[in-house]
């Protein structure tokens, strides 16, 4: 469970140190929580804690421009490295809830029902976020402007 949690945190928060802090905070909170005795799916519960901690973290960050590292300072990068950067960059264009849904469904393999419980929204909202997330990431990977949502 913890390796998967680390993977989700890294994809969600992008920065490795922030991701590891999130996982540690999640585990500490889990250890303190009395929900231990109230039953339920521990895996979903851990994802919920981590998702909420990240949401709080982002809310408390002052609004500032998002600086991307200059990408082509290693022109001999292998194809897979470049692809890795592309998907990471594409994820960065998503709003928090869309990124979280996309990762929980596509990377972590959770069901729509589980994701709805984690995010505290109806399944319809999960589907709507997922559809948008996929559209945005597709557009980003194909080099189009990320805001493009409508076909004229």
């Amino acid at each position: 469970m913890i390796p998967a949690l680390r993977r989700y945190a890294r994809a969600l928060a992008r920065d490795a140190d922030i991701a590891d802090d999130l996982v540690q905070d999640t585990l500490v909170r889990a250890l303190r929580s009395e929900r231990l005795f109230l039953g339920g799916d521990v895996r979903s519960w851990l994802y919920t804690i981590l998702t909420n901690l990240n949401k709080n973290r982002r809310r408390s960050l002052a609004r500032r421009p998002h600086f991307m590292p200059l990408l082509d300072n290693n022109p001999d990068a292998s194809g897979t490295e470049a692809e890795g950067r592309d998907i990471a960059r594409a994820l960065a264009t998503l709003v928090e809830e869309q990124r979280s849904v996309l990762l929980l469904v596509m990377l972590e393999g959770l069901s729509y029902r589980e994701v709805a419980d984690i995010q505290g929204v109806p399944i319809g909202t999960v589907m709507s976020r997922l559809a948008r997330a996929r559209a945005h990431v597709k557009a980003s990977l194909e080099g189009e402007a990320p805001a493009l949502r409508r076909v004229k």
Binding site: P3, A11, E34, L36, V42, M106, L107
Partner: protein, 282 residues
């Protein structure tokens, strides 16, 4: 058929959107066009089996949708290619839950955490409150004895205890002398419980101390303590009919807090007992 925009989309004249067509029947109708949601569900294995054929037929006939589905699949591959390696890394020390658990003895790390640690590392889903203990004999016989005593004495109106709570000092000294460890009657006034008193009981390997508390509304909790062979500080919960108990061992002494079936209340009381005992070094 009803055409509705995807929830939340803004509508402007001249634009073309994907519309979700609401089905008015629960039966699968092969004439109903495949919806946007169903394309996603198809890729995520969330589609009812009877609809798969329809979706595949649709994709064969609608290349733009097929292309989108392909892009979602390769998107998933890219995600896994980029991030799966992290799940394959050995768990670093800071996330080592066993290590997190071995912090200086506090309620949070000592009692509850070991249980959670074993559970998370074991990888199970769901939590059984009365799940298997690491060494069943140690936990079970202790808790059974304590629950037996709890049930036997809480129903007593006139003689629930031998020494009343009004003689707290004497009670503690007497039990300490007979039992062989520092017996303290924790102060639980903050949670609305007063000490009714205590008595001495036979324990598994020697004497056991037994204390009873009571609230103004008459709810009763008991604290049973005896020598325990287990050194761990794992906490276990047991339930038997109308009674619940929380057990832990600390420095060679096992403690059982017994009460009713309200688990949260029981935990609240047990937490306070634990903290009080820790503070007094008993």
């Amino acid at each position: 058929m009803v055409f509705l925009p995807l929830s939340g989309e803004e509508i402007e004249t001249g634009d073309v959107f994907y519309f979700e067509i609401r089905k008015t029947t629960t039966m699968t109708d092969h004439k109903i066009p495949v919806t946007e949601d169903e394309l996603h569900a198809y890729v995520d294995n969330e589609l009812p089996a009877e609809r798969r054929g329809d979706v595949e037929a649709w994709l064969a006939a609608h290349p733009e949708d097929a292309e989108r589905v392909r892009s979602w699949r390769s998107m998933a591959e890219a995600l896994h290619a980029r991030y799966d390696a992290i799940a394959d890394e050995p768990v670093p020390q800071r996330h080592d839950i066993e290590r997190l658990v071995r912090q200086p003895r506090k309620w949070v790390y000592g009692a509850l955490a070991a249980t959670l640690a074993a559970f998370i590392v074991g990888g199970g889903v769901g939590w059984l409150a009365h799940g298997a203990a690491a060494s069943p004999s140690a936990f079970q016989s202790f808790t059974v004895d304590a629950l037996d005593a709890h049930r036997l004495y809480v129903v007593e109106v006139r003689h629930p205890v031998d020494v009343p709570g009004s003689e707290r000092e004497h009670l503690q000294q007497w039990l300490t002398k007979r039992c062989g460890w520092d017996v303290r009657a924790p102060e639980l006034g903050a949670t609305g419980l007063r000490l009714v008193g205590g008595r001495l009981l036979p324990g598994p390997t020697g004497p056991a101390s037994f204390l009873m508390y009571e609230s103004a509304s008459g709810e009763r909790f008991t604290l049973y303590a005896a020598r325990a062979t287990t050194e761990t500080t794992q906490m276990r919960y047991a339930k038997q009919d109308q009674d619940g108990a929380l057990f832990w061992a600390d420095r060679g002494v096992g403690y059982v807090v017994s009460g009713g079936t309200d688990r949260e209340r029981l935990m609240q009381v047990a937490r306070m007992v634990y903290d009080e005992i820790e503070k007094s070094g008993g």
